[in-house]
C-alpha cells in the first residue's frame, strides 16, 4: 500500500491558501460591471390562488430596473426526475398558485439591494387563500385539499422494495418487535446561502456564477426552463460555501436572476437572506417510520418490514430519491433474508423536503439502530454481538438489489468493542451507544436522463510538465479537487503541486453529474485516473522508443522519473520527456480523456462503505440535559486517498449528524417555520462538540480508483442512533422522535419514575 507517493499523504488542500487568506472568490463575492441586485417576493400563505399581481408601483420606484412574475416565464416546471414529467412540478416563479410559505411570486432587479428590497413592498399581490394541509397523515385523507392538480390524496410517489417471503419468515421468528418512530427535518445551513450572478448577453448567451454542487445539472435545468440550448449556457462554480445536498437543483436565486437578466441584458446578482435560506430552500425529509423486526432466540434476524410516510412539502425535488434510499438503507448493514419496504411521499403545504447529506439514510439508520438495540436487549444479547451476527460481509448480494464487494463492517465492530472495553466501567449517568451503518459511493440511477457519461475528465500536460485537470465535478468544500488532484498525480507519477484543477465550469469542463450521493471520489476519481493513464501511456511509449529499451521491459513514472520498472535507476526526467514528446508531436499538448459510467453494478451503487460508531453521553437525571462526551468511529472507505480530508469529513459529519440527534429542528405552525435564523435554529457550536476519535480500517474496493470509495456522507448516518442508544444506556429511557432534546429525556424520566412507583405499589 505504502508505495504510493501521493495517495495517503497528509497534504494541504490545493485551494487552502486561498481559503486562509480570504482571497478565494465565491459567488457571494462576484461583482460584474453594470451589475444589478435582485430580490424575491415570497408568498405569506401556505396555500393560495394568485388572483392578481400589480407591479406598477414597484416599477415606478427610482432605481428599479425590472420586475418579473410568473407571466414573464415560459411557465415550464422543473424537476430533477426529468424522465418522469409528472414529477417535474415546480415553476419556481408561481403563476396561478402558491403551495408553501416562501413560494416565489415576483422578483425585482434594482441598482442596489436596499432599493430592490423597498420595491418588494410596492408589489401588490391579491391572493385567495385556500385550505392547507401540513401533516402527511392528514394530507392523504379524502377530504384534504389537493395541492397539485390531478394528484389525488396528495400522494406524490410510492416505492416498494421486497425480497424473500416476509410473512412466512415472521412465523418462524421467536421474537418480534413493532416500533414507531418519527424523524424530524433539518436545515442544511450552508454558510454561503444560495446565490447566483446571471448575465444574459445581447448575443443570446447566458453566463452564470453560482454556488452549486452540480454545474451540469444547473445548466441542463436552465436549458429546460428557458428553452435554450445547453451549450449557450455557461455555469461556473469556483468556490462554494457548503452544499450538503441543498445545491443541485435549480433554485429561486438562480432562476430569478436569469429571468431578470434576460429582460435587461445586464448582470443580476441574487443572494438569499438567511431567513429565505431557512424557509424557502429545501430541507431534510421528515418521516414517520413503522418498523417490524423478527429474530430467532440466538439473535439471527429473519425478517424486517418497514413502512414509511414522508412529509414531501410542496414539490417533488429530490424527495423521490430520498424515499427510495431510505427504504433501501433500512436493510443496512445487515443480511436480512426477508425484507419488505413500502414508502409513500406525500405533498404538504410546507417547504419542500429533499436531499440532504445522507439522503434518507440518517433517518433509516436512527430508527433501525434504535430498534436493533431494543431487540438485543429483549433477547439478552450484547449490542455489538447482535450486529456481528447479522452484519454484512464482503461479496454479499442484497437479494436482487445490490452487490457489495469490499466490506469492513466486522473489523469496525471489533475495533469499537475494543474501544468500549478500554473505556472500562463508566461513571454514573454515562452511557455508550453503538450504531452501525453503510452507505453508497455514487448513485447508479439515471432519472436525470443524462446522455453523457456519469463522470468525465480531461487531463492535459503542458510543455513545462505541469498538468491541468478538467472535470465537471464540483468542490463545495468537501475537498474533491484535492482528492482528484492526488489521484491524477499518483497515476501520472508527478507531484501534487504539479497539478492544477479546473472544475465545475460547464464552459470548459466535460459534463459530470456533480457532487451528490458520494460520487466524486469513486466516479470522478475513475474518470480522472483513466484520463491520466492515457497521458502516461503516451509518455511511456515515447520514452520506450527514445531509450531503445528491450521490448520485454515495462516502464513506469514515479515522482517525475520515467524509468524501467525492474531497474528504477535507469530512466529519464519526466520534464525532459514531456518537452521532447510535445515537440515530437508537432507541438500538440499531451491530452488524455477519461470517463466512468457504472454498467451492471446493481440498482443502487457500484460500491458501499461501512462503519460503526460509539457515542458516549453524560445525562443529568434531574433535568434531562445531556452532554456529548466522546464520539469514536471505526470506519472503512477503501484506500484512503486524502487522510486529512477524511478526518475533516468525519468530524464535520458529527457536528451535523450529532445536531440531527441532539438539537436541530424546524418547528412549524400552520406551515410557518418558527426558527428561521441562526440565533434560533440551534446547532452544535464549538462548546457542544464532543471529542472525536477515528479508527481507520483498511479495505480495498476493486471498483474504486486505487481501491477508494465513499468517505464523507455515510458518516452522517450513525450518530443520531448512537446518541439515542447512549441515552438509553445512561438512564434507561428511549426517545422515539428526533431530535433527542433534554425536554424529551426529562419527560421520559418522569414517566419512568411514575411507572416504577406504580409497579412498587
Amino acid at each position: 500500500m505504502s508505495d504510493y507517493s501521493v495517495i495517503g499523504k497528509r497534504v494541504h488542500n490545493i485551494d487552502g491558501t486561498e481559503k486562509v487568506t480570504g482571497s478565494g472568490k465565491y459567488t457571494f463575492d462576484v461583482v460584474l460591471p453594470n451589475m444589478l441586485y435582485g430580490k424575491i417576493l415570497r408568498s405569506p400563505h401556505p396555500h393560495a390562488k394568485i388572483l392578481k399581481i400589480d407591479t406598477r408601483r414597484a416599477k415606478r420606484l427610482v432605481g428599479v430596473k425590472a420586475v418579473v412574475t410568473g407571466k414573464d416565464t415560459l411557465g415550464r416546471k422543473q424537476g430533477i426526475w426529468r424522465r418522469f414529467p409528472e414529477l417535474c412540478d415546480e415553476e419556481i416563479l408561481c403563476r396561478a398558485k402558491v403551495r408553501y410559505i416562501g413560494d416565489a411570486v415576483a422578483a425585482v432587479a434594482a441598482i442596489d439591494e436596499d432599493t430592490a428590497e423597498e420595491a418588494l413592498d410596492l408589489i401588490d399581490v391579491e391572493y385567495e387563500p385556500l385550505p392547507a394541509v401540513f401533516d402527511p397523515m392528514d394530507a392523504i385523507k379524502e377530504d384534504a385539499p389537493q395541492i397539485h392538480e390531478g394528484v389525488e390524496l396528495n400522494i406524490n410517489i410510492n416505492r416498494h422494495i421486497e425480497w424473500g417471503d416476509v410473512d412466512e419468515a415472521f412465523e418462524k421468528c421467536d421474537h418480534i418487535r413493532e416500533d414507531k418512530f418519527k424523524c424530524s427535518s433539518q436545515a442544511h445551513v450552508c454558510m454561503e446561502t444560495h446565490d447566483a450572478v446571471a448575465s444574459f448577453g445581447h448575443n443570446g448567451k447566458l453566463e452564470v456564477w453560482t454556488s452549486s454542487q452540480s454545474s451540469y445539472y444547473i445548466q441542463r435545468l436552465y436549458a429546460d426552463m428557458l428553452d435554450m440550448n445547453e451549450s449557450d449556457i455557461r455555469v461556473t462554480n469556483r468556490h462554494t460555501g457548503g452544499g450538503f445536498g441543498s445545491k443541485f437543483e435549480l433554485d429561486s436565486a438562480q432562476f430569478c436572476a436569469a429571468i431578470l437578466s434576460q429582460k435587461l441584458c445586464q448582470p443580476v446578482k441574487i443572494v438569499l437572506t438567511r431567513e429565505e435560506e431557512f424557509t424557502a430552500t429545501k430541507r431534510r425529509t421528515p418521516m414517520y417510520y413503522f418498523l417490524k423486526l423478527g429474530a430467532k432466540k440466538d439473535g439471527t434476524m429473519l425478517a424486517k418490514e418497514v413502512r414509511v410516510i414522508t412529509e414531501g412539502g410542496a414539490y417533488t425535488a429530490m424527495g423521490a430519491t430520498a424515499l427510495y434510499l431510505t427504504g433501501f438503507f433500512s436493510s443496512f448493514p445487515y443480511k436480512y433474508p426477508n425484507y419488505r419496504y413500502d414508502g409513500y411521499r406525500v405533498y404538504t403545504n410546507t417547504a419542500t423536503t429533499s436531499a440532504m447529506r445522507g439522503f434518507g439514510a440518517p433517518q433509516s439508520t436512527f430508527v433501525g439502530e434504535s430498534q436493533i438495540d431494543m431487540m438485543a436487549e429483549d433477547l439478552g444479547i450484547d449490542p455489538v454481538e447482535i450486529r456481528r451476527k447479522n452484519g454484512m460481509t464482503p461479496n454479499y448480494e442484497v437479494p436482487g438489489q445490490a452487490f457489495i464487494q469490499s466490506c469492513g463492517l466486522h473489523q469496525c465492530l471489533d475495533k469499537i468493542e475494543e474501544h468500549i472495553e478500554k473505556r472500562g466501567k463508566l461513571p454514573p449517568n454515562h452511557g455508550i451507544g453503538v450504531s452501525a451503518y453503510g452507505f453508497m459511493s455514487g448513485g447508479i440511477f439515471n432519472w436525470f436522463n443524462t446522455p453523457y457519461a456519469f463522470s468525465a475528465a480531461v487531463v492535459r500536460i503542458n510543455i513545462d510538465g505541469k498538468v491541468d485537470v478538467y472535470t465537471g465535478t464540483c468542490d463545495m468544500g468537501q475537498g474533491s479537487n484535492t482528492t482528484l488532484a492526488m489521484i491524477c498525480a499518483e497515476e501520472l507519477g508527478v507531484r501534487l503541486e504539479d497539478v492544477r484543477m479546473f472544475s465545475g465550469d460547464t464552459g470548459i469542463c466535460p459534463p459530470d453529474l456533480g457532487a451528490w450521493g458520494s460520487r466524486q471520489t469513486l466516479m470522478g476519481g475513475n474518470a480522472v485516473k483513466m484520463a491520466a493513464a492515457e497521458c502516461k501511456q503516451q509518455l511511456i511509449e515515447f520514452t520506450a522508443a527514445k531509450m531503445g529499451v528491450n521490448i520485454v521491459y515495462d516502464l513506469d513514472i514515479k515522482d517525475r522519473w520515467v524509468h524501467l520498472v525492474d531497474r528504477p535507476e535507469r530512466g529519464v526526467s519526466y520534464f525532459d520527456i514531456v518537452k521532447e514528446a510535445i515537440r515530437g508531436k508537432d507541438g500538440v499538448a499531451i491530452m488524455g480523456r477519461g470517463h466512468y459510467t457504472p454498467h451492471r453494478k446493481g440498482m443502487i451503487s457500484p460500491a458501499y462503505s461501512f462503519g460503526v460508531q460509539a457515542a458516549e453521553v453524560e445525562v443529568d437525571p434531574e433535568t434531562g440535559r445531556y452532554k456529548l462526551v466522546n464520539v469514536t468511529t471505526a470506519h472503512e472507505s477503501g484506500t484512503v486517498i486524502n487522510p486529512v480530508g477524511i478526518e475533516g469529513q468525519l468530524e464535520g459529519a458529527i457536528m451535523m449528524a450529532g445536531g440531527y440527534g441532539f438539537c436541530e429542528d424546524q418547528p412549524m405552525d400552520e406551515g410557518k417555520i418558527l426558527n428561521p435564523s441562526i440565533a434560533d435554529y440551534k446547532l452544535i457550536r464549538s462548546l457542544d462538540m464532543p471529542e472525536t476519535d477515528i479508527l481507520e480500517i483498511d479495505t480495498y474496493e476493486p471498483e474504486g480508483p486505487f481501491g477508494a470509495k465513499e468517505a464523507g456522507e455515510g458518516l452522517t448516518n450513525p450518530t443520531a442512533g448512537a446518541i439515542g442508544n447512549a441515552v438509553y444506556k445512561a438512564v434507561g429511557v428511549r426517545i422515539y422522535d428526533l431530535p433527542i432534546t433534554p425536554e424529551k429525556v426529562f419527560k421520559a424520566l418522569k414517566e419512568k419514575e411514575k411507572q416504577q412507583k406504580k409497579a412498587k405499589k
Partner: protein, 159 residues
C-alpha cells in the same frame, strides 16, 4: 446624509463618505473592496463577518461603519505579512481547519483576537473563543487543534 469615516484598515488609512446606517461589513466589502470578510447571517449570530477592531474581535455586521471612526481594523487580508502567512494561517493549513472556507476568515479573526488577548489559552478557552462562530463543515475540532499548536509554539511569527 453621508458622513465622513476616517479609519485604518490593515494599516492603510481611508477617508470614505458613508450613510449613517451603513454597516462596517458593507464598507469593508463593497467600498474598500476586501471580500475576504464574509456574511452568513447579518444578525450577529454566525461569526462569518468577524474582524478585529482595535485588537478586539467584533462582528462587523453589527457595527455601524461610523462607529469605526478613528479605529484600526484588521481583516483576514491583513494577517499575512507580505508573502508570509501568519502562524494561525499556517496552522489552519496543516490541520485541515477549513473545508468550504466560508467561515474561515471569521474563525481566523476570532482566534487571532483570542491569542492577542490571551496568548496561552486553555482548550476550553479556545473553544469559548470561537463559540460565536459557526462552521458547518469541519466540526470545530480541527480548528481547536490548529490554535492549540500555535499556542504550543509550533508556528513561529514571520519576522
Amino acid at each position: 446624509m453621508k458622513k465622513e469615516l476616517k479609519f485604518k484598515v490593515n494599516g492603510q488609512p481611508y477617508e470614505i463618505f458613508v450613510k449613517p446606517k451603513t454597516l462596517l461589513v458593507e464598507v469593508l466589502r463593497d467600498l474598500v473592496g476586501l471580500t475576504g470578510t464574509k456574511r452568513g447571517c447579518s444578525s450577529s449570530s454566525c461569526g462569518a463577518c468577524t474582524v478585529m477592531l482595535d485588537g478586539m474581535a467584533v462582528k462587523s455586521c453589527s457595527v455601524l461603519a461610523l462607529q469605526a471612526n478613528g479605529t484600526e481594523v484588521v481583516t483576514v487580508e491583513g494577517l499575512a505579512k507580505g508573502n508570509e502567512l501568519s502562524p494561525l494561517q499556517r496552522a489552519f493549513l496543516d490541520h485541515g481547519s477549513y473545508q468550504c472556507g466560508f467561515c474561515t476568515p471569521g474563525m481566523l479573526m476570532s482566534s487571532t483576537a483570542l491569542l492577542t488577548e490571551n496568548p496561552r489559552p486553555t482548550k476550553l478557552e479556545i473553544k469559548e473563543g470561537i463559540d460565536g462562530n459557526i462552521c458547518r463543515c469541519t466540526g470545530y475540532n480541527a480548528i481547536v487543534r490548529a490554535v492549540t499548536a500555535v499556542v504550543k509554539g509550533e508556528y513561529k511569527e514571520a519576522k
